[in-house]
Symmetry: C2
Subunit: 134 residues, 2 copies
DNA sequence: TGTAACGGTCTCAAAAAGAGAGCAGCACTA
DNA sequence: TAGTGCTGCTCTCTTTTTGAGACCGTTACA
């Protein structure tokens, strides 16, 4: 493995942290990763990293999310402390979602991963084509 | 947002890339993220980043994965080009899984995210406790 | 002869996600 | 003043995904 970037000892520690325990409650890393790892969570965090959005705006922005999953995912992100939800007493009331400091801090490594995906999607595409050809 | 680390222009580009198109086929970034984002994929990539493992070893290492999901996740990781599967003609045949170059390159940003989770799991725990208290 | 390990597949039940109707409150229009 | 639309949801129903666990053929070893 690449020792220049990743030190083996700490890597082993993380790896052990992820595999320790028989259930999620026993493994903090997997517990946190689970909240980040959802189908819609990264997308919404990426969107909110740009600027705060209202419920309806997010819905129009991500046309293929169901209202149910948008509500639910935002609720989970709020619970985990990544997203702040603010209700404005307009008529009808509008609700704005924004990233918290914790959310912005999590955005940085997430962004690295998304950037990797952007740079390497062609390689993944090719790998799939080669694999499916057999 | 933090302009020191993330340039707004490229961030907007990524964000647009993630929200473009009505389905996955139209959005390469989400398409790739989907393969990385599975419930078990990050865990298996972390494990294989340490060293190659055989099927049974992975099963013992991650006791709460079902055999079905282990087979399926490894198959998907192999299809996307992150994992190499090698069969040795022993009796009975043994199968070794290892990370490819693409897999190792993806491991780096993934590791950043896992590291973030390790450093911040206490903050997430607290956020949840506060949220649930209301 | 019987049992165990290897790396799976198959079936069935449970959980999660998607589609879409319904809802209460207010503003605006006809 | 009746109708329509916008807000941010929740509820129900159907489809997809995941989980639990039995089964499988081959081979080694007791």
């Amino acid at each position: 493995m690449d020792g220049k970037i990743v030190n083996l000892k700490s890597k082993l520690e993380i790896y052990k942290a992820m595999t320790a325990g028989a259930n999620f409650a026993d493994c903090p890393v997997r517990d946190v990763m689970r909240g980040i790892n959802g189908k819609w969570s990264p997308l919404l965090v990426m969107a909110l990293a740009e600027k705060p959005y209202r419920f309806g705006e997010l819905r129009r922005l991500v046309p293929d999310i169901s209202q149910r999953m948008l509500t639910q995912t935002l609720h989970e992100l709020q619970r985990d402390g990544y997203v702040h939800r603010e209700v404005f007493p307009t008529k009808p009331p509008s609700v704005e979602y924004s990233l918290t400091d914790l959310g912005r801090s999590m955005f940085h490594p997430l962004y690295q991963l998304v950037q990797w995906a952007e740079l390497n999607h062609e390689a993944v595409r090719e790998a799939r084509a080669t694999f499916d050809a057999d």
